[in-house]
């Protein structure tokens, strides 16, 4: 019997295929296209304590086999998520991952505390809650001129440490590939009590409108994702998963079953699918079916047989 089951920091996943934050909304739209319960999990759109209307101007540009986005964390805020989105996410019967960002330390901590309290209450009432909190440290640090929190290990440490103190929900820190030293960053997360790390978020990138003679994005830079980043992201996942003992969730440019297998062989416990959801609106269900078929064909009964073998 082939088994796709994974154990992500104590959370049992049906399979290693999780839908990445910001590419899957809160699941509603894809839920109209296929049965979400076949997925390993869903990471919510990036939440912040307060609602955000996101960036103005152009929000997406294409590049060969990649895209840059400058959505700017448009989201309804933590309270609205808990009130209007969580029930239906839970009803989709897959692992629910709340992705949390922030503009400053207080916002991160208060956002995590609010999610945590609401989930404690739900659990006391016998309702399923958030299975994992994914901490997005790639947000711009407004105080430091917009440099991402996730660039400097010591800046990020403060956020991880203080968020860890206010929540008992399994905590997964989502690393930025723009980090000065992504291995040191992962070590820090482990030291500060994170239960897992996920990587990578988008690469800081640029597009110039040569006729207007300025950046195509009002914010100058934007986040690069898609197949174009896969080889670099895979290398980072390989480095990190060999350096820490907490589980690693790998992502960046996955667009096929073979890509998923590469990430697992590099050491990932599970993977996330982001941009490919736009290329193929049925990516989730096709990759789950495809991975099962691949394992049967290759006579791999459990992903443990191949995990981290490279």
């Amino acid at each position: 019997m082939t088994s796709l089951i994974c154990n992500l920091a104590g959370v049992a996943l049906r399979n290693p295929i999780i839908m990445a934050s910001g590419t899957f909304g809160f699941g509603r739209e894809y839920g109209e296209l296929y049965d979400l319960s076949i997925l390993g999990g869903i990471a919510s759109k990036g939440l912040t304590l307060h609602p955000r209307s996101g960036n103005t101007g152009c929000r997406v540009q294409e590049t060969p086999s990649g895209m840059m986005n400058s959505v700017g964390l448009e989201n309804p805020g933590v309270a609205s998520f808990l009130e209007n989105e969580l029930d239906q996410l839970v009803a989709s019967n897959t692992a629910v991952i709340a992705n949390l960002g922030g503009a400053n330390l207080e916002e991160y901590v208060n956002g995590a505390a609010q999610i945590s309290e609401a989930c404690d209450l739900r659990q006391r009432q016998g309702q399923q809650a958030v299975d994992l909190l994914e901490l997005n440290i790639s947000c711009p640090n407004v105080k430091e001129g917009g440099i991402q929190f996730g660039v400097d290990t010591e800046v990020a440490r403060q956020i991880v440490r203080e968020v860890r103190q206010v929540t008992s929900i399994p905590l997964m820190v989502k690393l930025s590939p723009n980090a000065q030293d992504i291995v040191a960053m992962a070590h820090m997360c482990e030291q500060e009590g994170a239960d897992a790390v996920s990587l990578v978020n988008t690469f800081s990138a640029m597009k110039i409108d040569i006729y207007q003679r300025r950046s195509a994005f009002q914010n100058s830079y934007a986040g690069l994702s898609g197949p174009a980043i896969k080889p670099i992201a895979l290398r980072m996942v390989h480095q990190v998963s060999h350096a820490v003992s907490i589980p690693v969730v790998g992502m960046g440019g996955i667009s096929s079953v073979e890509d998923i297998v590469e990430y697992i062989m590099a050491g990932a416990e599970a993977v996330q699918i982001g941009t490919y959801n736009f290329v193929n609106l049925h990516a989730g269900e096709e990759l789950v079916a495809g991975l099962t078929a691949w394992m049967e064909k290759e006579k791999v009964q459990s992903l443990d047989e191949i995990r981290g073998i490279v």
Binding site: Y30, S53, V279
Partner: protein
Amino acid sequence: MANIISNIQVAPSVYVIKVAGQWAGAMGQFYMVRPCAMQGIALTDPLLSRPLSIHDQGDDYIAFLYRVTGRGTTLLANVQAGQEIQLSGPFGNGFPIVDEHESVALVGGGMGVAPLLLAAKHYYQAEIYLGFNHQSFAVESFEQIVDRADQIHITQGQYHQITDIIDPTLYSVIMACGPAGMLQALAEKIKAMRASTLLYISTEKRMACGIGACLTCSIQTVHGNRRVCKEGPVFTAEEVNWNDLSHM
């Protein structure tokens, strides 16, 4: 996957692609169009699907009218009858169905004429205004469906604006599609003439998912942000922010 019946140039850089099959959709809705995966291998360059409005629709076909502007549409112009493309849709909220007592005008500028043919099929008694900076296209298709030939009004050339020849006070509802500047000029003319005309516009933003999940197509409205692919592409002129719409 969908079989291409024909893909014909109708003006410089402008094509009509006709695809076989029974396809759902209403006036003003759009499809996301991309090359087919080959033997299960997704083609990822160009990466994103391209939004195209439904131009025409019949029992066994759907058609799109498009201009070649970049990599995706250049590839599209080079696929031939008998080959396949991939369509996802229909998506979005199209033009509204209004009471038959309303006096309706349809206004299209350039590629903005694309979604109006389906609207003209519904509002076959409406007055139709089509403006072209260069050579006109698709006009014969409109001529075939209207009641009277004089329902169709055309301007051509950069110094003849379609907005100049419309008297909005004659209409209770105008549905328009075209460059943001043209739509804004129309809205301002309605205001300046103190007409009570309700103006619906079809908007454009760059898109990634097309289904409402990624928020790359958000626009600012008086009700807060709205997704062009989901709540739009058709909005009322009163609710949009023109400055935001002028940024692609």
